[in-house]
Amino acid sequence: MTAAAAQLDVMVPTACVLKQVTKETPDTFTLTVARENGSAENAFAPGQFSMLWVFGVGELPISISGDPSKHEELVYTVRSVGKATHALVSQKPGTEIGVRGPFGNGWPFQAARGHDVIIVAGGIGLAPLRPMIYEVFRNRAEYGRMVILYGARSPRELLYRKELAAWARQPETQVLVTVDYGGIGWHGHVGVVTTLFKYARLHPARSVAMICGPEIMMRFVTRQLQEHGLQEQNIYLSMERNMKCAAGFCGHCQYGKHFICKDGPIFPYSEIGPLLDKYEL
């Protein structure tokens, strides 16, 4: 294939079949899709995303939230917040959707090998980090300790609750979960995600941190990590902007000198940090 043909190829969606829709929270669903021809060519790196096309409605950038070692299907966790996401999560199993990708650079899992891994997620931000968590468990000897700090708005908005409990039982793994607002039935931690740091057993000098959540949350978390002694170059953030073409052609997702879709969505804080404080960027 020529370079020009390859560039065109990324713009063409592949027809896939929606196999399963699982309700995670009142407004968040996990979708499992597979290629129509049954092909197992779904390799992706943790942190990459796809463009999902709901025919007649529109196209959306959605992070892959499944296990990167399972190539027979692609898994996405989607929060229904607008017309297109609502249409996507309302599709019935058996429906055809278009998939482009995977796109983006993904989490730096190879650079993180040999280090402790600190995962900090807020809300639906746990979805793009879940493949990285699977990667650590699948290659456990390659990594040091894993600390997962997860915050959501309320107990009913927590994703993957059974998995969180299962991860907490794994050796060399600490899982701390908090909610911003607790009800009477909730006996876990209440407070913003940064309040979990005082309970986390961290070894900053040998750790790599990966953060995904609302940008303002990532700013607070980054500050905490730096106060704990983590180096800027060992803190990675997943950024989000208005992605359209996903291949760096259209410029919709430009962020400073970067295109989030092509250069990101994962950036080291040392590279992206100065942009986070700029208004209206």
Binding site: G82, G122, A152, R153, H189, I216
Partner: protein, 153 residues
């Protein structure tokens, strides 16, 4: 078995406290335990104590009419429960609901206030440590008020 002095010295709140001050603090301290689902204090009660939590989990609850109680924060090992003893009118502003069996060191606020008045160096040291806690909690509350997950798209 750890002595009371050792426990207080090792608690993050009093970390690095001068030994002379430690003796003064120790005179106001007792070991306490609270069972699950009990209340350590309730909103409006007189606040004459604060607690160094050693183990367990305590929820700060607030009631609003015609609504279920809301937990605004939980406090666990290594944290401080209560600063209403420090400032008039010395009344608790929240309920402290024990979520898990909790062990703590209770410090008599009246006793410590008296010692702080008599020894301003001790008073400054105690206030400085409480100011740090208040600043952390204020920052967390501001972050909580942003309600970042509801706006997440």
């Amino acid at each position: 078995m750890q002595t009371l002095e050792r426990i207080i010295e090792e608690h993050p709140f009093f970390e690095g406290l001068d030994h002379g001050f430690m003796d003064l603090v120790l005179g106001c301290a007792t070991n306490v335990r609270f069972g699950k689902d009990t209340y350590i204090f309730k909103e409006g009660d007189t606040a004459n104590t604060f607690y160094l939590i050693r183990q367990g989990n305590v929820a700060l609850e607030i009631f609003a009419p015609q609504r279920k109680p809301i937990i605004v924060a939980t406090l666990g090992e290594g944290e401080i429960l209560g600063w209403s003893w420090l400032l008039p009118p010395y009344h608790w502003k929240f309920h402290a609901h024990v979520l898990q069996d909790t062990r703590a060191i209770a410090l008599d606020g009246k006793c410590l206030r008296k010692k702080c008045e008599e020894n301003h160096d001790l008073g400054y040291e105690v206030l400085k440590r409480f100011a740090g806690i208040v600043a952390q909690r204020l920052e967390s509350t501001r972050f909580q008020l942003l309600d970042v997950f509801s706006a997440q798209k």
